[in-house]
Symmetry: C2
Subunit: 324 residues, 2 copies
Amino acid sequence: MNHFRNEDALVKGIARHFLPHRSHRLRLGIGDDAALWKPTPGFVSILTSDWFLEGSHFFRTKHPPDSVGWKCLARAASDIAAMGGTPGCFLLNLALPPDTTGKWLKSFLGGLHRAARSLDCVLAGGDTSRSRRILINITVIGEVQEGQEVLRAGARPGDVLCVSGRLGEAEQGLRLLRETRGRVNQKNEAIGKHLYPQPRVALGRWLAQRDLASAMIDLSDGLSSDLGRLCRASGVGAWIDAGKLPLPRGTDRLESAQQLALHGGDDYELLFTVSRRKVASLPATFRKLELTQIGKITKGRTMRIVGKDGAEEPLRAAGWDPFR
Amino acid sequence: MNHFRNEDALVKGIARHFLPHRSHRLRLGIGDDAALWKPTPGFVSILTSDWFLEGSHFFRTKHPPDSVGWKCLARAASDIAAMGGTPGCFLLNLALPPDTTGKWLKSFLGGLHRAARSLDCVLAGGDTSRSRRILINITVIGEVQEGQEVLRAGARPGDVLCVSGRLGEAEQGLRLLRETRGRVNQKNEAIGKHLYPQPRVALGRWLAQRDLASAMIDLSDGLSSDLGRLCRASGVGAWIDAGKLPLPRGTDRLESAQQLALHGGDDYELLFTVSRRKVASLPATFRKLELTQIGKITKGRTMRIVGKDGAEEPLRAAGWDPFR
């Protein structure tokens, strides 16, 4: 793809990139004032938007453009997964410096297209502009059958607290990425998880359809921060067994592994609660993905963590926050 | 509103600002992973996103924050109007420098809230982040009864070309704003139109419901650019009678008024085509808003303009383009 002489040419170039990927529900895509999307009768629409900004969420010198494309859609789709829904289409808002409309953009669109196909989420529209830094905002429209949506607010004292996958690996990957000079080894598991997170859409839907999860949130900013949000929304507290945390592999010191698992961001795993009555129906793995019971929901509105020695400590929200 | 200690507090502050304004169709607003919106059966969703960036779309020193809030939503809603639809809810994406989270934000949210109420478009969600410049992206979800949507692509040779309101006034207002030192006179009509555009939602819906418009687009970048888009989408050309253009008031020279009307951006009026058979049903005004027949659609795929002396000239797209 070459540089573009004007906005219409850029938009056309982007649209062409996504052409083979369609949906009969997208009645009208790029090229009009707005897109037309046909919702499924009996479903509610799920709406979510996410920033992905150069200098805050990614660095042009560190993150391959292909990963930026993948990740900006994957993380927005993760919010849909956390409601128990399915992504349908997305709006891509791109503001680009002139020197990124060539090779960088082509590779970015490649990664975005792969994510879109993998999620079965079609490009419906968006907006383009110029900027000094690369600015990305993605809106995803998903849906869930009415009554099956899983909120943050449904956790009750006694519910078992569960997570998918391993925690802290993406943060570990980010640290490795920062330390690396030159090309990064994308085959490293932690780096791969940081660059190409897999939103847990199938798991979220499965839990919602079976009415297994009483509350759910995706882990984007770190367990301690996101658990705090789930607890506040539900008006409850939580108690975590440190020994049960699915720690990242490849860290020597237990303590630092635990810190990564508690406060590391960008995992895009699902954190959910299951009532004691239903927890026997929860398998240990879902399509090879580990599901781990890490603690329980408590009545007292605090978060506490208990170590192997049995000592209990308060758990403070210390995940990622752009305003801190 | 005070400064915020973290992202959750900022989001809460924004949500509180919009609290009295609700919709029974918004099943879940700010505070979960995503919003839940119930579409009306038999309608299609209309999706649109727009950038509104400091330094490109507005200037912190020139544009009152209240106007930035009003306009960022109004212009996105204008895209919904251009499809013949009605806005329903919106997602607000804000990235702010720390020194704007106090007074600036409060005034911005005031203007945004007024626009939201006037459009009956409720805040459903969004994302916040930090940035060196103020970055705004707005997604509006609207809807239109299936089959009533008006596309850019429906214009046929012989159709009459019509516009609402006066053209070029917003551009004139921008120029006055640029020339003004200190506080601007917001009561000046042109400045008012630049700062607080009125998307033509009622007109767009009325045209769509009566099946009067064969094609429609909103005038955001200027008549010459947006007419070009409508023509390309429809595979037609257009012929404009310069003497019929609804020129901005208060310009001394006819020539410059005409240039403003042809190429000035930000009017957010509707440009639409009506078949000859139906044009007699089109009133001269719609709720006090002038509707003017300015030309016609032609078979030859060029845009031409004829002056008072009868001389015809080609019309080149010369409206606003961020990449030019």
